[in-house]
Amino acid sequence: MSTATDRRQPHLALRAMSRRKLLRLGVLSVAASPLLPRGGRAAAQTGGAQPAPTKTPTGELKNPAEFKSPRVKASGPTTISFWQYVGFHVDVQKFIAEEYKKRHDPNLSLEITAYPGLNEQRVGVKSALAAQSSTPDIIAIEPGAYAVDVSTSGSVLDFTKVFAEDPEYKRGLWPNALELLTINGAVVSVPAVTNTVIVYYNRGLFQQHGLEVPTTLEDLKKVGAALNAKGIMPIAYPAGQDRNFPIFPYYTYLGGIKADKLMREADLGLKRWTSPELVAGAEFVEMMAKSGLYAKGPLGIKEPDAIQIFATGKSAMFWGGQWMRRSIRAALPPSFDLGIFPFPAVVAGGPRPVLSSVGITLTVNARSKYPDLAFEMIKALTGAWGKIEYTRNLGLSPNGPISADAIAYQMQSLKDPLYPEFLKLQPTGTTRVIFTPAVEEAMTQGMQALITTQKTPKAVMESVEAASQKVGTRRFRTG
C-alpha cells in the first residue's frame, strides 16, 4: 500500500521496487504482447487493443521508443512560450523539453506558464489572441468550445502540414481523440494525454456484502438497492463540480446506445435535439436522479466531498474521471481495495459506455514567430518517446497506443495496478464534447433541472433545441 512518501514521489519510491513486487501487483504477469503494429490500430478504435505489459526483463528498463530528431532546429538561442492550465503536468513537460534541448536542439528552450485553472488561462489566451500577440507560441486548449473558438477565429494553426510531413506521428494518436479536435476538416490541436470516465468502486465493501460488479443497468439498480438497504450510499457523484459533470449521465447514455454521432449532428445544428434518442438521454438522466443510486444532493457535491464520501466507505462507488485517480488514491486508507469498472450497459445487449476525453491538448498560435519550432516541441511532448515519458508518472492514459514494453517501463515507476486497466478502457471511449457554447450551456442548465426534477426531459431538450436554433448556422463543422 502506498505511503505518504510514495504519494509525493512515486517515481522515487518505485524505482527501487523489485520485479517480484511488481509481479505481486499482478500487472506484469500477463503474456507478452507485441508492439502495436499499424494494423492493430483499427482494432484499437473498437476497444481493448491496448496491450498488457510484458514481463520485466532483468535490469532497469528504458523508454523503448525512439526520441526522433526534429526536422527543424533553432538557428540561435530561442525561447518559445507555452501557456497551460494543468499545474501537475508542468514537471513532466519541463523534463521532456530539457531532454529535447540536450539531445536535439541546444538552442531551444521552452518557457511554461501554468495558470491556476482553465478559466484563468482561457481569459489570458483570449486577450493575447485578440491583441494579435505572438505569445504564447504553444497554447493548451480544451476541446469543444475552446478549440472551436480559437480555430474558427483563425487564431491557431492546424496540423495538416505536420501530419503530411510525418504520417507516423499522426498514426501514433488515437483516431477518436483526433476526431474530437477536427474542425473544418483539419486537426487543430493534438492531445497530450487521454482520460476516461469510469466508476471507481470499493472492492472490499462489495465483497463484504456479496455484491458483484454490475454489467447492466438492472444489475446496477439491484446493487444500489442492496447498498441502500444497508445504509450505504451507492454512488458518490460530484455533479456540482463544474458545468460538465451534470452532463456525464447524458453522454453515458448516448455512448451506450451509440448515438454519439447523432449528438454531434445536433450540436452542429443538423439534427434536432428533440429527436427520440436525444430525449431518451434526458429521460435516462432523470431516471438516474430518481433512482436512489446517487448520494443525496449531487449538485451540492464537489469532487473533494465525493472523494471523502467514497474514501470513508459511506458510498460504495464513485463516478468520476481518470484524472481524479491521484486525489482518490491519496484520500484512501491503506486497507482500501480500489477497483474500477466501465458504466454498465444502458440498454440490453448494448456496449458498456466509457466516456473519453482528451484532457490537455496542444496547438500553435497563428501569430507565433517560431511556428515550426513550436510544432517540433509539440511533437516532442506528444510523439512516440514523449507520450511514454509524459504519462509515466502521471498515470493518465497516453494519447495513443503504446507498446507492452513501454507499459512495463512505465510500471517501474508508477505504483498503480489500475493503470493497465485504464489503458484497456481508453480505446473504447465515446466522445463527450459539445462544440456550440450556447448549446453546452443549455445542456448544463437542463441537466441540472433534471437532476433537481424541476423540468421534464422533453422540456429540457426543447430548451436545448431552442438554444441551438438561436445560434443559427454554425461557422464550423467537424471533419
Binding site: 489572441l129 494579435q132 457554447p437
Partner: protein, 302 residues
C-alpha cells in the same frame, strides 16, 4: 499667446495641476477609458477572439438582455443579495458593535474573533462552507441529525430553493466583522456628553440605544449600508466558486452572468452591456444614498 490674466491664473493653479495631474492620468487610463470602452463595446457584436470588433448593433445587446429570462433572474438575485444581505450584515454588525462597546472582559478577544472571517481568504471560506453545506457528510446536516432535526437536513447548495440563501448566509458571515469594525469606531467617536446627558435625564438602555445612539450613528450606518449594498451588487467570487450561478441559475447574479457571457459564451457585447447596467446601478444607488444623507435634517453628513 495667453493674456497676462490667463498667465497669472495658470501660475496660480499650476501647482494644483501638477499635484492632481498624475492621479487624473491614472484615473483616466484605468477607470474612465475602460468605462468608455465598455460602453462602446456594448453597442457592438464581438466574440472576443478576432482582433477587430464585429458590427455596430446599436442597442441590440440591451434589447436582447431585456428579453432574456436569465438576465432578469440574475438581476433579481443581485437585488435579493442586497435586500437580504445588507440588513443582516449591518444589523448584526450594529448589535455586535453595541455589545463590544461595553466594558467586557473578553472584548478584545471577541473583536478579533468577529474580524477573523474578514481577513480570511475567500477561497478558504468557500471551501470550508462547501464542506459545511455538503448534503451527506457536511457539518450542518450532521449537526441537525445529531440534535434530532434530521428531517431538516437538506442539500443546501444543490437545491435551487435554498442555494441562494446558503450563499448569502456565507456572505453575511464573512462580512459582518467589517461592518462591526466601522460601526464600533463610530460608536466610540460619539459625543459622550450627549449620551451622558440622556442617562442623567433617566433614559434606560433601550431608550438610549434607540433614541440617542442610533440617530447619532445614522451617517455611519448609512455608510456601512452603502458599502454593503455595493459589495452585494458586485458579488462575483463567492458565487462563482461556490455554485457558478447554479443550480439552474438559482444563484446567478449579474457579475457571474457577465463572466459567463464574456468568457464562456463569447458574447463580449452582451457582457459589456451587463457591465454598463451594473455600473449604472451601483452609481445610482451610491448617488441616492449620498442624496439621502445630504438631505438628512441632523447629523447628516458622513
Amino acid at each position: 499667446m495667453l493674456s497676462p490674466a490667463a498667465r497669472r491664473r495658470w501660475r496660480r493653479h499650476a501647482a494644483g495641476y501638477a499635484f492632481t495631474g498624475p492621479a487624473l492620468v491614472v484615473l483616466a487610463a484605468f477607470l474612465l477609458y475602460p468605462i468608455g470602452y465598455s460602453v462602446s463595446l456594448s453597442l457592438h457584436d464581438w466574440d472576443g477572439y478576432t482582433p477587430r470588433w464585429g458590427p455596430f448593433v446599436g442597442l441590440e445587446n440591451y434589447r436582447a438582455l431585456a428579453g432574456d429570462e436569465v438576465f432578469w433572474r440574475a438581476t433579481m438575485n443581485s437585488v435579493a443579495f442586497v435586500v437580504v444581505r445588507t440588513p443582516l450584515e449591518v444589523g448584526f454588525g450594529f448589535l455586535l458593535a453595541l455589545l463590544l462597546n461595553r466594558r467586557l472582559v473578553v472584548r478584545s478577544l471577541l473583536r478579533t474573533l468577529f474580524f477573523v472571517p474578514v481577513v480570511m481568504s475567500l477561497i478558504v471560506v468557500t471551501i470550508i462552507f462547501q464542506r459545511v453545506f455538503e448534503p451527506n457528510t457536511g457539518l450542518l446536516n450532521t449537526f441537525l441529525r445529531a440534535i434530532g432535526l434530521g428531517a431538516w437536513a437538506h442539500p443546501w447548495l444543490g437545491d435551487p430553493a435554498t442555494a441562494l440563501g446558503a450563499v448569502i448566509a456565507v456572505s453575511v458571515w464573512k462580512n459582518v466583522g467589517f461592518s462591526l469594525v466601522i460601526l464600533l469606531a463610530g460608536l466610540q467617536g460619539l459625543p459622550q456628553d450627549v449620551v451622558e446627558a440622556a442617562r442623567v435625564d433617566g433614559a434606560n438602555a433601550w431608550q438610549l440605544t434607540l433614541r440617542v445612539i442610533t440617530p447619532l450613528m445614522r451617517p455611519i450606518l448609512a455608510l456601512t449600508a452603502l458599502l454593503s449594498i455595493i459589495g452585494g451588487l458586485k458579488v462575483f467570487d463567492l458565487v462563482f466558486i461556490m455554485t457558478r450561478g447554479g443550480p439552474t441559475y438559482s444563484t446567478e447574479v449579474l457579475a457571474t452572468m457577465l463572466y459567463r457571457e464574456a468568457f464562456e459564451l463569447n458574447h463580449m457585447g452582451v457582457a459589456s452591456a451587463i457591465a454598463v447596467i451594473l455600473v449604472t446601478l451601483v452609481l445610482s444607488i451610491a448617488r441616492a444614498q449620498t442624496f439621502v444623507l445630504d438631505e438628512a435634517p441632523e447629523g447628516g453628513k458622513a
